[in-house]
Amino acid sequence: MGGRDTDMVLLDENGIRCDGRKVDEPRRITIKAGVLKNANGSAYIEFGDNKILAGVYGPRDVHPKHMSNADTGILRCRYHMVPFSVSERKNPAPSRREIEISKVIREALEPAVMLERFPRTAVDVYMEILQADGGTRCAALDAAAVALADAGIPMRDMVSACAAGKVADTVILDVNNEEDQAGQADMPIAYMPNLNQITLLQLDGIMSLEEYNKCIEIGIKGCKIVYELQKKALAEKYFPEEQS
């Protein structure tokens, strides 16, 4: 009931998933901070087969002026897929999906960014999906948060994102593309690890209240794994001597 058809074995008898991972294991994640020359801050993430670049400009003047806010800075986010990032070439015009994702990512970052320090200005976050493989919004958010830190924007906390989900009636961490297509549910989560706040939460697919709570729990575990990698990426740029 409520699942999606599939012939694929999403979870074998040993609890191993179609790409060899355990249920609570995220895909291979690598993050690099400061990868662009012009951007004030930037980060590149490989999250499984997702390849995503984030760049930040700001705080800077807002044009047209009437879009600025005298009381606080504003955050603007653009999640964008390049034409060759998906199997069928993507039309360059922004899709309704991209517009919605840009909005939920912005709302996930806003609690963390101290925009009130920069009234009348904007901070622009650009996320470019170079290759997509399921879970792009979480991975893009992870890169964006590192890029914001790399740009020196003061933040109350890091924001770390990872999806939870459900395949073969089992709650799992970090849904990949096949699992998203053939699985039962996908729940992207963003989390501020020190303030303990969930700032992005979506769900497509059917689950019980119990599974819902379990998804949030395992998702936060994933976010915490990501958080360590985000810190590591920043440390590798700013304190390379301390890394080995």
Binding site: M1, G2, R96, R97, I99, E100, S102, K103, V104, E107, E110, P111, M187, M192, L195, N196, Q197, I198, T199, L200, L201, Q202, L203, D204, G205, I206, M207, S208, L209, Y212, N213, I216, E217, I220
Partner: protein, 269 residues
């Protein structure tokens, strides 16, 4: 909708003060919905229609059912598309022109709540596999705005679906050919959208526009007839704790039962 640019600080203070005492500005309990009034068949020329009043928010959903080409990768399923539009007469701040991000989110969340529940059995809407399927368009138009359009649009769309009369087509030499007779849309479950706002540390259900303007964050949880969650969307600039989310899940499941009864009552016996 977050289409408002000014927020009445006094109103927020008043709302907050009341919430400290466990009260809401319009006297409701924290998890209490405003009155829900549903009229179906209000646009008789459409294949289905419903007007929903949720407090002073008012929405009409009209359904058009027509043959369509299937999407290339799902030739064995019909098409369901749900939209939402804020008519400019619904509120002084609404602008004409292409939908802004808030309206796009509204439409997509309402659509997903219904789609992910599998309310309409799309496998029964195939005229000829890979060639021709039935397309069901549920278009919501907002006539008056008083907060919580997510639920108002969802109830309008599901009511219109429940009461729609679908024509029948068979595939002939010149493509789909209209047949005699009408039948209800094939449905499997009844999704119910429950939207809650977080104001300070309080969780309230069905925020009206005053509450909407001063909320910290919101969450819309859609549940199906089996009492499972089938779609969810967090919004707003704030965050939720794990405990708050657990509370929201419970409120959603509890509230949905009463609302589902109201929605189900639109179906003629």
């Amino acid at each position: 909708m977050t289409v408002f640019t000014t927020m009445d600080e006094l109103k927020r203070n008043r709302i907050m003060d009341l919430l400290q005492e466990g009260k809401r500005i319009d006297g409701r309990a924290l998890d209490e919905y405003r009155s829900i009034t549903i009229d179906t068949g209000v646009v008789p020329k459409a294949n289905g229609s419903a007007r929903v009043r949720l407090g002073d928010s008012e929405v009409i959903c009209g359904i058009k059912i027509q043959p369509d080409r299937p999407f290339s990768d799902v030739g064995e399923k019909g098409i369901f598309i749900c939209t939402a539009e804020l008519l400019p007469l619904s509120h002084p701040t609404v602008e004409t022109g292409p939908p802004n991000e808030s309206v796009i989110e509204l439409a997509r969340v309402v659509d997903r709540g219904i789609r992910e529940s599998h309310m309409i059995d799309l496998t029964q809407l195939v005229i000829k596999k890979d060639e021709s399927v039935v397309g069901v368009f549920a278009d919501n138009v907002v006539l008056d705005y008083d907060g919580n359009l997510f639920d108002a649009c969802s109830y309008a769309a599901t009511s219109a679906i429940l009461t729609a009369q679908m024509p029948r087509w068979e595939y002939g030499d010149n493509g789909p050919e209209l047949q005699e007779g009408l039948e209800p849309l094939p449905t499997t479950t009844l999704p119910v959208s429950v939207t809650m706002a977080k104001i300070g540390s309080h969780i309230i259900a069905d925020p009206n526009s005053d509450e909407w303007d001063c909320m910290d964050a919101r969450i819309t949880i859609t549940t199906n007839s089996e009492g499972n969650i089938c779609a969810l969307q967090k919004g707003g600039k704030g965050g939720f704790t794990v405990d708050e989310l657990a509370t929201c899940g419970e409120i959603a499941i509890n509230s949905s039962n009463k609302i589902r009864d109201i929605l189900q009552a639109v179906v003629p016996k």
